[in-house]
Amino acid sequence: MSSLLILSLLNGLAYGLLLFLLSSGLTLIFSMMGVLNFAHASFYMLGAYLGFQLSAVTGFWVAIIISPILVGLIGAAVERFGLRKVHAQGHVAELLLTFGLAFLIEEVVQLVWGRSAVNFVLPQILRDPMFVLDGVAYPTYRIFMMAVALGMLAVVIVFLRTTRVGLLVQAALGLPRMVGMLGYNVPRLFTQVFAVGSALAGLAGAIGGAVLVTEPAMARELGPIVFVVVVVGGLGSVFGAFVASLIIGMVQTLAIGFDRPIYAMLGFGSPGEGGLAELWSVSLAQIAPLLPYLLLVLTLIFRPRGIAGTRDL
């Protein structure tokens, strides 16, 4: 196997796992609470900025622990003082609230940290190469990121399997008052779930921000992709989200590594100019960004419950 392929696969895996880290929180929130949280990627961004700010004081390792906790607390506050107030008006009101919130968070972040990227760098130990493949160094942080994502997958799955939180939230979605009248504090439950989901986003941010870039547009760019992961993975399935993240990560990365015009891939000659030629001469890397959405649409048409979902969307 060529080293380019191996590297591309590894890079795809790393990106996919980062996507998973980011979307696992949304899977929790969306499939449990039904809240299409448009601010989820904003919590990711907050995690990155807080991680950046804290690491200047406490160092990187402490920062990636405290930052998610802070983001979780912010999430809890958002649920407690925002979402809870509009919950009774239904999911669309919640969605719109988070939508506005995404807006606000982006502004606040720029207000505090400026409009350009901040210089959030990893500690040297993570930047050192883990191994060198054919002259290309593979930095340790990618492996670290993968390990964290896999750890998260395990934690979330165990959490859902061994507690009845999942059941309760699902029940409370449709009939919150009835759940209350069975003896559960539904509002607090929602706050907790939302906080945990946000904290996961914060963790993804603290790590992803250092690996990629910490800048005010980072939320806006990842926003829709996160929904693709959740929907394609299937409502209620953390494992599905995991698989979907990997697929998207791989597709995006391999398309760059093995870029080729469409006509060439299909074994035709160059189509020349004009007419539909433009469509044909589009290259793989160029269509890579639209593949996730294609996947989303196809999933919704042919398999509305996603890869491993328990019910239709």
Binding site: Q170, A171, G180, G183
Partner: protein, 232 residues
């Protein structure tokens, strides 16, 4: 367990539905709450649970529970079976039952095997989403679910609605047994024949106020009450 209610008011928005209700429920008693449609029987139960805007004193064994949230009320030992069943449609029958048991463990009293063996239909449907159950099955499930918290007082709203006659008999027996095992029951029931057969005391309600409160025998002995307040 003793429940003492005095001066209970309740509102839906601007409409003042309960207008000063007083009554008591003693330990192990079955008390039937009667009245015409829309007089506020269901609202009384909801007000006890804290599910509507309310005012008044509700004492459970001397402790006030009228400022608590529904889940806190439940943790004091009340349980509620709503008139519209409210099973969780996407959860299976078994999961519905599990959620009823908020104590998280089966102690003494009622357990899941208990109710499943009593109603084999529920056992057969254990893995079916509750939303797919027939109307009557949902009614049963709802009642069993609340029972699993092993309350000291159960508030049951129209448990026999939509049940076939044979099933009605079973439910009736269940209620009697609940009481026999030490849990008091406040029962709202349309079908007088049933209510009068199992209740030891009767409350009659008109326009958000209690107009009659006495033993079942006394109620049966006073047909004019029945004519005046219950028939149209």
């Amino acid at each position: 367990m003793t429940l003492v209610v005095s001066g209970l008011h309740a509102w839906y928005g601007h409409s003042h539905v309960l207008q000063g209700v007083d009554f008591e429920v003693g330990p192990g008693e079955i008390v039937a709450l009667l009245g015409r449609n829309g007089v506020g029987r269901s609202t009384t139960l909801k007000a006890l649970m804290g599910d509507v805007e309310r005012r008044g004193r509700v004492l459970l064994d001397g402790a006030r529970i009228d400022r608590l949230d529904p889940h806190q009320v439940v943790r004091r030992g009340l349980a509620y079976v709503p008139e519209d069943r409210q099973v969780f449609p996407t959860l299976t029958v078994e999961q519905n039952l599990d959620l009823g048991n908020w104590r998280g463990r089966a102690e003494g009293g009622w357990t899941k095997p208990d109710v499943l063996s009593r109603f084999p239909r529920l056992a057969e449907r254990a893995k079916v989403p509750a939303g797919a159950l027939s109307g009557g099955e949902q009614q049963l499930l709802s009642m069993c679910r609340s029972l699993l918290s092993n309350p000291r007082l159960m508030l049951i709203d129209e448990p026999t609605e939509g049940l076939a006659p044979a099933m009605v008999t079973q439910v009736k027996e269940l209620i009697v047994e609940i009481a026999a095992r030490g849990c008091a029951v406040l029962l709202v029931e349309q079908k007088l024949t049933i209510a009068l057969k199992i209740a030891s005391r009767v409350l009659v309600m008109v326009h958000g106020q209690m107009v009659f409160q006495d033993s079942t025998a006394a109620f049966i002995a006073a047909p004019e009450i029945r004519r005046r307040y219950l028939e149209v």
